[in-house]
Amino acid sequence: MQHFINVLLNGITQGIVIAAFALALVLIFRSTRIVNFAQGSQAMFTTYIALTLMNNDFPYWVAFLGALAAGFIIGAVLERVVIRPLEGGMELNIVIATLGLYVAIQALAAILFGSDYKSFSSPVGVQGFQVGDLNLALTPTSIFVICTVGVVVVGLTLLFQKTQLGLTMRAAAFDGEVSRILGVRVSHLLTFGWALAGLVGSVAGILVATGSFIYPSYMESLIAFGFIAAVIGGLDSPIGAVVGGLILGIVNSLVSGYLAPGLVTIGAFVVLIAVLLLKPGGLFSSTQARRV
């Protein structure tokens, strides 16, 4: 019984982090209709910035906020310098540009920070809880991770549902031209959208690293799973990204625990195809494919 609980808890902790990363991908997809492959490298880079801060005796929280700020700024700069000029051209070109950024940022990190393992401490304990004779695969760190992602999801929901800024962002995402007619500065919102995604991506980057260790390509496996989770969720719905991430995390853990670790990626593929056969637009996609 404990085995099933622990495999499930492990799946939830992994899924929450995939969800956070998928959320960052969805934030960008909603406004620019492209998937940002550089998201993983951006998150990795800001986590190294946090590590540098911690190595200079800044506490974990300062490093955490510093990384988020860096993620915000890097997201905005990339949109302005690389993505904006490509606006109006083919979407595939933007995707290729983000692939270029993905490769370049990862190589830059290896040059600047070295490619060896560096451990990333956790602000709270890493020892699991014990309930009676049950050992739970749940540590203060995993609770910290789950709560942080919870805060991010609630924050984003409030931003989008309850604030004027959120309303204009949704309007710009659904119909850019009408939004501009209504006086919404769509170009600024695009930059803000990338910056916000950069910030959320950085959260995912740090949560993956917390209580573990990092190296320049530590985010690589998350990029594939994050993208798959976002597609399962519906690519343009934040809630979909979170649900998609959790589903994928739990399935991966169950497959790895009960079938075989070698089948994890095949399991992810099967889940994705099953969802897409049921609903080609993903589970929570709000906009039907506008055919005509």
């Binding site: 004027q164 309303l167 204009t168 949704r170 309007a171 659904f174 119909d175 031209e177 009408v178 939004s179 501009r180 007619i181 209504l182 006086g183 919404v184 500065r185 769509v186 709000s286 906009t287």
Partner: protein, 241 residues
């Protein structure tokens, strides 16, 4: 005094000249109808005035300031509200959310300008059907209800000039009449100025003060509405009734 002055405005899409040195003056407190067959350049005129399309020549001045080439996002803050072709309802948002987007445009507007619709309640009074279903998603509205929504949304920005792009499209005659009478009433009561682009020339002229007829991107006739309604030859050749 004219709110909007368009002088030899020319817009080209690649080799095609959509507008060819067009001159239009829109008098304050009046409805100016721009008429003509499909493809005559009516919608291109509005899209150029609202900045969605950059003109290749000519000038546009609003309340005396030159707005040629200025970004679309700035127009509503200058007092020009545009109801675009196809109405421009954001279907995924609720009715109230669409209206609240309209109100944003009023932020920078001077508070003393006469405005028939200032608050959401004013809008719901003007169009009760919107009030009843304010939290429903906009794509559940009928064609007529959508037209009411976008007019209310535009008015919430407290504009001095309202651009309407073929409001009658796809609506039953009874609803078209209802909407046109409302527009005329707004103009009479609050001195709103309207630039109305319509294919349905007959009903447009019934509420317009002046008519401008476009053909192949050129202004063919600028006359008062009465003259246009009575001149059979003009009606047959350009207005199709």
């Amino acid at each position: 005094m004219s709110v909007l002055e368009i002088k030899n405005l020319t817009t080209t899409y690649g080799p095609v000249k959509a507008l060819d040195s067009v001159d239009v003056a829109v008098e304050t407190g009046q409805i100016t109808a721009v008429l003509g067959a499909n493809g005559a350049g009516k919608t291109s005129l509005l899209r150029t005035v609202s900045g969605l399309v950059k003109p290749t020549a000519g000038t546009i001045t609003l309340d005396g300031t030159d707005i040629t080439g200025k970004p679309t996002e700035s127009m509503v803050h200058r007092g020009m509200a545009h109801v675009p072709e196809g109405r421009g309802v954001i279907a995924e948002l609720t009715i109230e959310e669409n209206l609240r987007l309209g109100m944003r445009g009023a932020a920078k507007r001077p508070t003393d300008t006469p405005a028939p619709v200032r608050t959401l309640d004013d809008a719901y009074q003007l169009f009760p059907v919107l009030g009843d279903r304010r939290n429903a998603q906009a794509h559940t509205l009928s064609g007529g209800e959508r037209q009411m929504l976008v007019i209310a949304r535009a008015l919430l920005a407290r504009p001095t000039l309202l651009l309407l792009d073929e409001p009658s499209l796809g609506l039953a005659p009874r609803i078209v009449a209802q909407i046109f009478n409302l527009v005329r009433a707004l103009v009479n009561d609050s001195g709103l100025t309207v630039l109305l682009v319509e294919q349905n020339a007959r009903s447009a002229l019934s509420i317009a003060h002046t008519g401008v007829v476009l053909n192949l991107g050129k202004v063919v006739v600028t006359e008062s509405a009465e003259v246009l309604q009575n001149d059979a030859t003009l009606r047959h050749s350009y207005l199709g009734f």
